[in-house]
């Protein structure tokens, strides 16, 4: 396949105008010793029909149709049909960043509406146009807190997703911030340890629910953080904010989250959506793009990218972040998703997730094969200890069509025999009952 609409004859015309004999003449500006003198070692090109066949083959060699209880930061929620229909409009997906607002009002208004929805969900004053994912939003929040407080120590709870903590550690290698980990007590942040560690910290970083599903006492953590002069950063799950108190009402200063559940496919873990929101007073230290409402020269309302003096293309090494491309199309999907479910639908979906998770949790304990790891409140995800070989159990259940949770052994030896189950509104009671029968038969 080729996507070049220039004929051989036209190419000759163009070469003539340019004053070149062949197209290779144009590449003579490249020093000869670094010009590639052989064809690239890539397979030959193919027709669309052949390509479709190959891609279908690759996709089909992934096992699909499994009944999944996998979560851990990526969730199998229902995506309303209207979402992909809107996101597939080429005026949206083939557009660049809206640097020319006169012809980008669609993207800009959609971002403004998305920002408004994120503020509504999180209880924050301002939200940016998105970050890459929850993990990188979490790190940017830590860096922002360091700028705001002019301190460099951040305290992260060990109850946070291990991959988010790992990304934080990777970034901290630069020496910009020092990461101190607060231990866990019963699956949640250890409040006694936190009180001591929070002294002189720029930020206390937690997520609620925590990685193992437990719901943190955010208000109490906020009290400890603020007493130490630190900002509180809270990672959230946006679906659960349909029924869970907004972190902004519990004392959070910066709220981040993985927005994939809002209308983006799991897609093997990406692209997701980094939610990022904060209180008004910190706005000048925020990373990322912001869309704002204004008027044009004729007084018509319109939208622009604004407060760009925070950003890399203006401030270069003094920018609040190096972020340029964000996840605008996923933010668009989130906007369409939230409009389609509304607060009633979102609360209903979140309630279904919570009720189904509690149903499965209680029933798994009743099988006698699983025991509680932490006796703490949870929403739609929970960890249980299995009384046998987790790997063998999951393998057997996979053969019967189930993804039987996440074996936490992959993250730490502390989690031997611990399985993390996530239940979304897509799981039916019938699926869960059959799954429970399979578990009982092991």
């Amino acid at each position: 396949m080729r996507f070049i609409p220039v004929s051989c004859e036209q190419r000759e015309t163009m070469l003539h105008v340019v004053g070149a004999r062949t197209v290779d003449d144009l590449f003579e500006v490249i020093p000869e010793d670094v010009r590639l003198s052989r064809p690239l070692a890539l397979p030959r090109g193919m027709s669309e029909i052949e390509l479709a066949d190959e891609l279908e083959g690759l996709a089909a060699s992934n096992t699909s149709g499994l009944v999944s209880f996998l979560g851990g930061g990526c969730y199998d929620h229902y995506i309303p049909a209207i979402v992909d229909s809107m996101v597939s409009k080429p005026e949206f997906f083939t557009a660049y960043t809206p640097y020319q607002p006169e012809i980008s009002q669609g993207t800009l208004q959609a971002i403004y509406e998305y920002q408004s929805m994120v503020c509504a969900l999180t209880g924050m004053d301002v939200a940016n146009a998105s970050m890459y994912d929850g993990a990188t939003a979490f790190v940017e929040a830590a860096l922002m807190a360091a700028r705001v407080t002019k301190r460099d120590k951040v305290v992260v709870s060990a109850a946070v997703h291990p991959e988010w903590r790992e990304v934080l550690t990777t970034y901290a290698e630069s020496g910009m911030i020092e990461v101190v980990t607060c231990p866990v007590a019963d699956g949640r942040t250890d409040m006694v340890a936190l009180e001591e560690l929070a002294a002189d910290a720029a930020a206390v970083l937690v997520t609620s629910p925590a990685f193992l599903g437990g719901i943190e006492d955010v208000a109490a953590i906020a009290g400890l953080a603020h007493a130490a002069g630190a900002l509180l950063v809270v990672g959230t799950n946006p679906i659960l904010l349909g029924v869970m108190e907004a972190p902004g009402n519990l004392g959070a200063d910066i709220v981040v989250g993985e927005g994939q559940p809002l209308g983006s496919a799991m897609s093997f873990g990406g692209p997701g959506l980094g939610l990022f929101a904060c209180r008004q007073q910190f706005i000048r230290q925020m990373p990322g793009r912001l869309a704002g409402r204004t008027t044009d020269v004729d007084g018509r309302p319109g939208f622009v990218l604004t407060m760009q003096t925070r950003e890399q293309h203006i401030r270069r090494e003094k920018a609040t972040s190096n972020i340029c491309s964000n996840h605008a199309l996923n933010a668009l999907a989130a906007g369409v998703y939230l409009a389609s479910v509304g607060s009633v639908g979102l609360a209903g979906i979140a309630r279904a997730c919570v009720a189904k998770a509690h149903y499965l949790h209680d029933a798994l304990i009743k099988t006698g094969r699983f025991t509680t790891v932490n006796d703490v409140p949870f929403a739609h995800e929970f960890a249980l200890r299995y009384d046998g070989d987790v790997s063998a159990m999951q393998h057997t259940l996979l053969e019967r069509g189930y993804l039987a949770g996440l074996d936490l052994h992959r993250f730490s030896d502390d989690y031997n025999n611990v399985v993390l189950f996530a239940v979304t509104e897509k799981r039916t009671r019938a699926q869960m009952d059959r799954f429970l029968e399979e578990v009982a038969s092991l």
């Binding site: 396949m1 996507f3 070049i4 220039v6 190419r11 340019v18 670094v34 590639l36 690239l40 669309e48 390509l51 992934n62 996998l70 990526c74 409009k89 080429p90 005026e91 949206f92 557009a95 660049y96 020319q100 006169e102 980008s104 669609g106 993990a135 970034y171 290698e173 630069s174 609620s208 719901i215 349909g242 108190e245 799991m266 897609s267 990406g270 869309a291 704002g292 204004t294 008027t295 020269v297 622009v304 407060m307 890399q312 920018a319 972040s321 190096n322 340029c324 491309s325 199309l329 996923n330 409009a339 509304g342 009633v344 609360a347 279904a352 919570v354 189904k356 929403a379 996979l398 993804l403």
Partner: protein, 492 residues
């Protein structure tokens, strides 16, 4: 403006101002398990007040976003010669491919034996990008170009630290993208800027003066942001290596040299690639992109984990390199974007990939030749896939700024080129046609530009007010900063 855009008498209401409180679109499923007492289940954390989200029906959503789409401009709507952004056509087979249930529905923590197709695709793309760049060790984890720059610089930092040689500075030419210094600062480096020479390349004397054993890396875009291939590239990377520093290539301009030259062969140790530029994945109104990093063997052990490796039995598995800098994001990268780029490379093959750069370079040189009578070319020699005009003459002689000319292009149904970048050219306008535009489109752009050049002389006042035909006209950006309105708030 292009035909799909119309000015309307009244602005479209916000989605929040549409519908009514009873309006519903998607509802939750009927609960088939016992209900829970939410406040008890959530440990007293149930939400007191519902979030103020829109309440609309499906048809209202469809109409709302159809309207928003109608006041938005993408590559499908017309010419988009946005320099440094490579706004080429986005093939539809790629969009279809990433939505296949086997890809879209895969969970990142599925057992490896259930995702061999996805892992195989990632492995295949790693190999292809390694071959194209001449830098064989590859991570696909970074989510965007700037993220890739950060990843590469953290690897370079780890390399120096491992050698017991923590260094403090990064050198960046004055023509570099803003992300370069911003990234260097995020990695804890101080930035030393070096000027360009009178041919638009790196000033070797200035580079020599800036280089010492405290320099960790040079970040260089090649071809550079003037659209010029640096003739001294071999000498530049040699000088960098001589003081023990490493050479990083900002790969934003890779579309110029596919199959023609490889950064690895030029002496670069690492580069990032923008799949959303060179490899045709859509920009999505600002993202998601994908910023793979390709490195030389000496940096391979520092790649962020996990990468996909081939096991002895031919199956694919995840592996983390020995001295990995660690993860740079959750999971495995922007897989949906990787599928599109893989499909593009497979569709084109070696020959098609090379033709991309041949045509991109020819089209840029064609536009440069056709425009150079009416406009001043910043550095008028054979360019690569883009070139830069300076509007300084128009500003001095007629008081018309590049911004005015760019805004006037909107009335011709063209997305303006990048303006005021690179910073080293006064009143810069950076034009990148890409290979996916026909000669007719290029010629009509030339016609529009030549018309504007005449308007500059004959009616400069008119240009200050442009555009005239777009859905909205110039917006008050100062007011947007002074009185920030960043979120809708319900009327009290």
């Amino acid at each position: 403006m292009s035909e799909h855009m119309k000015r309307e008498a009244v602005a479209r209401p916000l989605i929040f101002e549409t519908g009514s409180p009873e309006s519903r679109c998607v509802e939750a499923p009927t609960l088939d398990v016992p209900d829970v007492d939410l406040d008890a289940a959530l440990g007293g954390n149930a939400r007191a007040v519902a979030p103020r989200l829109p309440h609309v029906t499906e048809v209202e959503i469809a109409r709302h976003y159809a309207h928003l789409a109608s006041v938005n401009f993408g590559v499908d709507n017309g010419f988009y010669p946005l320099g440094s952004c490579t706004m080429k056509y986005n093939p539809r087979i790629n969009e279809w491919a990433c939505r296949l249930p086997g890809f879209a529905g895969a969970h990142p923590y599925q057992p490896a034996e259930t995702v061999q197709g996805a892992l195989g695709l990632i492995h295949g793309l790693q190999e292809s990008l390694g071959e194209i760049s001449g830098l064989p060790a590859v991570t696909l984890q970074p989510a965007a170009g700037a993220h890739g720059e950060h990843t590469a610089l953290m690897m370079i930092r780890a390399y120096h630290v491992t050698n017991g040689d923590a260094r403090k500075r990064v050198i960046i030419p004055d023509a570099g993208h803003g992300t370069n210094p911003a990234t260097a600062a995020m990695c804890g480096y101080t930035v030393t800027q070096v000027p360009s020479n009178d041919r638009g390349g790196v000033d070797l004397a200035a580079l020599e003066a800036a280089l010492d054993t405290d320099v960790a890396a040079l970040m260089l875009t090649n071809p550079n942001t003037l659209g010029l291939f640096d003739e001294n590239i071999v000498e530049i990377t040699r000088m960098v290596h001589e003081v023990g520093a490493l050479a990083f290539c900002d790969g934003a301009n890779l579309n110029a040299i596919l199959g023609k030259a490889r950064p690895g062969d030029m002496g670069f140790d690492a580069m990032h690639i923008n799949l959303h530029k060179t490899f045709s994945t859509p920009h999505g109104g600002g993202g998601p992109g994908s910023g793979p990093v390709c490195v030389a063997e000496k940096l391979a052990e520092f790649l962020p984990g996990p990468i996909v490796a081939k096991d002895t039995d031919g199956s694919f598995m995840l592996a983390t390199p020995a001295r990995s800098i660690g993860r740079v994001k959750a999971f495995l990268g922007n897989f949906g974007v990787l599928v599109r780029a893989y499909a593009y490379i497979r569709a084109l093959g070696a020959e098609g990939i090379t033709e991309v750069s041949e045509q991109a370079v020819l089209s840029a040189n064609y536009l440069k030749e056709r425009l150079k009578g009416a406009f001043d070319i910043a550095y008028d020699r054979t360019c690569m896939h883009e070139f830069v005009i300076s509007g300084e003459r128009q500003r001095k002689q007629h008081g018309v700024r590049t911004l005015d000319m760019a805004k006037r292009l909107l009335d011709h149904g063209v997305h303006p080129p990048t303006v005021y970048f690179p910073l080293i050219v006064h009143e810069a306008m950076m034009i990148e046609p890409t290979e996916t535009e026909s000669l007719e489109v290029l010629d009509s752009f030339v016609d529009a530009m030549l018309l504007i050049a005449r308007e500059v002389e004959e009616d400069p006042e008119m240009l200050h007010e442009a555009p005239y035909t777009t859905p909205v006209r110039r917006l008050d950006e100062a007011a947007a900063v002074k009185q920030p309105d960043l979120a809708w708030k319900p009327a009290e």
